[in-house]
């Protein structure tokens, strides 16, 4: 997501359950993924919203994302036929990042899967959810049910003080650790809460009935640690955290190996196979991909953006920038790019061309800003 205002929404954008609430809070609404969404709020702006989230807690409306429930029969096996993750081995309340793969091994979407008592709860990207639902539906055996939970809203509360704000309202929620989830209640509203997010910070994602979204958002935003934060800062936060964004850093021409998402290929699944593109992906693991996703630190102050070319000494395109911007935390431009394997090493030197100008950049380990997750067993 380099510029949410340029998303090609063909149809009239839909409104989210919190539309009126965002406007009352001073949001500037822009079309994104088929919805009108808050990009930033009056009186803050993207830089301040970003830094507030890193220091305190930001409340994000991510209700555009798809919430699905896959249940019944051999639901785990059915999901494993579409994803490379160890789904069968997930214990209840545990979640995993995974990838919906095409037969070619290309990535159709990235998603989160959680095992619940009533089935597998899957959160997919907003822009791809219609295609995802069609794809999953087509491949499920008859005894497995796919339910699009479009009556649910989704909020994300992210930042080092998110736990303070949420634990005040939801007793027991602090016992969750990173990538675990459970059923809770907030102000009497049933809420499915996971300790996860998309900013690199500690935080929670909170699924609630859409009709209760205003009530819950208002309660969360009333906590002293919390401010509503727009999509603009969500993008700069996830870029600093080194997290790829589908449709930008990932697409169906990209494999998990090229995207440097090898961790999403569970060991048992790599060995046993049985997911789309297994042969190609294993060959890429063995031989190395042609291009690999890396982080770049760009010299100077001018950001390089999505679409800028990575060029060789002759000026020929050898790779591309898939996300780029100015890092509010580091106060310098950073980017994600696909580069040839030979330079996809720490401190590898890369040249980027944007609007006819050349920029020097250095391959940097990601995340650019350290993750701040609360992992099981780690000291509080």
């Amino acid at each position: 997501m380099s510029d949410p205002t340029d998303s090609e929404a063909e149809a009239e954008p839909q409104t989210l359950p919190l539309d009126a609430w965002h406007r009352a809070a001073g949001a500037r609404m822009v079309p994104f993924a088929g919805y009108l969404m808050p990009i930033q709020y009056e009186g803050m702006g993207i830089l301040a919203e970003h830094l507030w989230t890193r220091a305190s807690a930001g409340l994000f409306d991510v209700s555009h994302m798809g919430q699905l429930l896959v249940s019944g029969g051999q639901a785990a096996d059915a999901l494993e036929s579409l994803l490379p993750g160890d789904i069968a081995g997930l214990r209840e309340g545990r979640m995993r990042y995974s990838l919906l793969l095409a037969e070619t091994g290309g990535i159709l979407d990235d998603l989160m899967v959680t095992r619940r008592s009533d089935g597998f709860y899957v959160v997919v990207n907003g822009a791809t959810k219609a295609d995802d639902i069609a794809h999953i539906h087509e491949h499920l055996p008859e005894d497995v049910t796919l339910n699009h939970m479009d009556e649910q809203a989704l909020l994300a509360l992210q930042g080092p003080k998110a736990v303070d704000a949420l634990a005040r309202l939801v007793p027991g929620v602090a016992s969750l650790t990173f990538m675990t989830a459970g059923a809770f209640a907030i102000d009497g509203v049933p809420a499915w809460i996971s300790r996860s997010g998309y900013t690199g910070e500690d935080g929670f994602e909170i699924s609630i009935p859409a009709e209760a979204a205003e009530q819950v958002a208002a309660l969360l935003a009333a906590q002293p640690e919390v401010k509503p934060i727009g999509l603009g800062a969500r993008d700069s936060l996830r870029l600093e955290a080194g997290l790829p964004l589908y449709g930008h850093d990932l697409d169906d021409a990209t494999t998990p190996v090229s995207a440097d998402l090898g961790f999403a290929l569970s060991r048992r699944r790599r060995e046993q196979g049985g997911f789309p593109g297994h042969a190609r992906i294993m060959a890429e693991i063995a031989d190395g991909p042609l291009l690999k996703r890396v982080g770049l630190i760009v010299d100077g102050r001018q950001p390089v953006r999505e679409g800028a070319m990575v060029v060789d000494a002759e000026g020929s395109e050898v790779g591309r920038v898939t996300s780029g911007g100015f890092s509010p935390s580091l106060q310098r431009p950073i980017a994600m790019a696909y580069v040839p394997l030979a330079v996809a090493v720490p401190d590898g030197a890369v040249t980027v061309m944007q609007r006819g100008r050349l920029f020097a950049a250095t391959v940097s380990p990601m995340p650019f800003v350290p993750h701040n997750y609360v992992r099981k067993g780690a000291p509080a």
Binding site: I46, L47, P303
Partner: protein
Amino acid sequence: MTLYFTREHEWISVEDGVATVGITDYAQAQLGDIVFVEVPPAGTAVEKGKEAAVVESVKAASDVYAPVSGTVAEANGALEADPSLVNTAPEGEGWFFRLTLADPAELDGLLDEAAYKAFVAGL
């Protein structure tokens, strides 16, 4: 001093034959936090309506057009150290460059302050 505006949200103030160019308060508010400004160095010839500078917000890059033709006499070096001057003082310390006008008659086609305010009110 006379102040003119464009529909592309540049302003130009003319005093003693020297023109100062920047972007309007409306433009900076639309762009949001500005993190980088590229201004043309002194001696650059700019042409009315053509790209003369680049302003980068957190989210996107935007071109800034020359409101009139001329030669850059001075670029605002302060923007290099503090691009946010464009946010805090767009029509003051956040100016972009000064021009020697090629054809002062080009100013006649620009908006005055009242007309620009009316234009923005209709957006």
